[in-house]
Symmetry: C2
Subunit: 354 residues, 2 copies
């Protein structure tokens, strides 16, 4: 039909080739400038005059131009992707979701997208990390449940690949991290129980190999030793134990001699389970025992308002992780020490928590 535009306009008919999506070429033709100029103008290159930069920006906006991510990625090698390794253990209570929300907030307005890589049945997710690094599937990686000598950290440091861990390690080489001050959490929690007159404290800990388990233990022990009171560590259960196991543990503990009367509990569901178990054993919260728990959602404070809590803002953690990783990526020369954030337990009371 109208395929007779070979000599004069030449390109007009080829423009609507794929789907009419505007490209640099479209903008170039519309403005009478060269493709290169458009590219630079939109990138804000000062080599292009202020006036053309503005004009191009305007025309591009009018045409609804958006750069083709695939082409950019192919050319530059940058993927504009941040990978998050999600862990199945964190399924409970929207841990992952809160973190994701914070992350996306930090990435708002940047060209970065968030892609989720789950960690399935592997013992650790080093394989996933290796895969991402090897195939350059992302510009940066974020992961959680950091271990004392985390193999992912080791690998990423070795390959000099940008990452931020949620949690610290004990490697000598410093690396970017965002962590919650679990030492202070446990210390303060124990102090509150002691202030209530509790005489024998116990604590539920995360899996030992997770670094923050050590921090919590340390905080707890410091408080206990300062006060010179009795304590015990619940060895048979940990933060990953199902609520049923936790419940039964506490119920049974009452039947043995010298049960503790105060619990530092770093999980909301676990706290609920503990309360249920103790109730079943005939104890009442606030009378025979007290709990200070870590709060990451409104669950506990709404369901059991009498439990004291110390707040950990996971959305804030996610946002910080995002910000730190962006800095690591954009300014690689930054010393790792400046990319280490320790988030303090919030003074915020549950009712203020939005």
């Amino acid at each position: 039909m109208a395929k007779t535009t070979s000599s004069s306009a030449g390109s007009r008919s080829e423009k609507a080739r794929r789907s009419g999506k505007p490209t640099l070429k479209t903008v170039a033709e519309a403005s009478g400038l060269a493709v290169t100029t458009i590219s630079r103008a939109l990138a804000g290159d000062p080599l292009i005059s202020q006036s053309t930069r503005e004009r191009v920006r305007e025309i591009a906006d009018r045409l609804g131009y958006a750069p083709d991510r695939a082409a950019q990625r192919l050319k530059t090698g940058r993927t504009n992707v941040i990978s998050v390794l999600l862990d199945p253990h964190e399924e409970i209570l929207g841990f992952g979701t809160s973190l994701l929300y914070g992350l996306t907030t930090a990435l708002q307005g940047t060209p970065y997208h968030l892609i989720v890589m789950p960690n399935f049945l592997q013992t650790s997710n080093v394989e996933a990390v290796d895969y991402i690094v090897r195939n350059r599937l992302a510009d940066g990686i974020i992961f959680t449940r950091t271990e004392v000598l985390d193999p992912r950290v080791r690998l990423l440091i070795e390959k000099d690949f940008p990452f931020v861990s949620h949690g610290r390690t004990e490697f000598v080489t410093p690396h970017p991290y965002v962590d919650y001050d679990n030492y202070t959490f446990a210390y303060e929690a124990a102090r509150r129980l002691i202030a209530k007159g509790r005489r024998k404290l116990t604590i539920m800990l995360p899996l030992k190999r997770l670094t923050f388990s050590q921090h919590m233990m340390h905080g707890f022990m410091t408080a206990v030793r300062e006060a010179g009171i009795a304590y015990e560590i619940a060895e048979e259960i940990n933060l990953d134990s199902s609520a049923g196991v936790v419940r039964d543990h506490f119920r049974r503990r009452l039947q043995k001699p010298e049960p503790p009367d105060g619990l530092v509990c770093p999980g909301e569901v676990s706290a609920l389970a503990a309360i249920t178990g103790l109730n079943e054993g005939g104890w009442t919260l606030g009378r025979e025992f007290d709990i200070v728990a870590k709060q990451t959602s409104r669950l506990l404070s709404d369901v059991q308002p009498r439990v004291e809590t110390i707040y950990e803002d996971l959305t804030e953690a996610g946002e910080t992780l995002g910000r730190v990783l962006l800095r690591r990526i954009t300014t690689p020369e930054t010393e790792p020490e400046k990319l280490q954030v320790l988030l303090k337990p919030h003074a915020m009371t549950p009712s203020e928590n939005r």
Copy 2:
């Protein structure tokens, strides 16, 4: 230094240009074949002889070749990306996380990646959908909290863009969906309460505009009418209400005349909150009242084992969503009716739930 390879080998020195990552060219040189042949052989094109196909496959594996996603995407227009719209309301109890896990399971072994787009403060996330479609940021979209006349569905049908909604709509044009049979859930839940001898039932519903709210209401009403017993709908609260509001609602309800003695509750946290409220009002679960709740995690059954539950498997939902979307993408000619799945309430008892 060794830049004197211009005449003989020619390309050997340029190969290690970026990072040594093998490309089609690398494999071509290693095998003595042309780039095109490699591309076709790896794609399993029958035009290439069986023997070379095998040989190429082997060499490629040995070199650790992986196709460059950006280049493929640029060339073909396919992104190999699935977009999930995450909703902040689902933050509680890992709703999103379970779904994501199912999804990633379905996507295992496919070339598809999962990218998360959060829905922030918008009233609906049509904008996000529009953005994805317009800029071809994905090959398919999955979203939740489907409404009766969901604008996202309208847009996606109009643009003929692959998607699967979690939940049904009431549009006449059929479209792919994965839904849970909330009618049966509510019907069965109410029947169980009636069987326990409860005489006045109530139900907590999701926001009215969400389609599954209607389904639940219908199932509940059918059971109530069949039995000819009294009922009431809790109008002031819904599934999105905070646990605190739910708790207070139920506590106060006891002070007014003719309180209900059975509750159908589609949320675990809400169920806990309701129990707390009723306890505060002096009632005891199993004596003055009963609850049948929807179970999506182990929270409720572990913390309050005496609450009866009916199970909804969100991981299964996610996996189904993934599978259905893949079929929609790969075989676009499939009639939408064949891409509609209604998941039945699980007979599974809480203790079996893994």
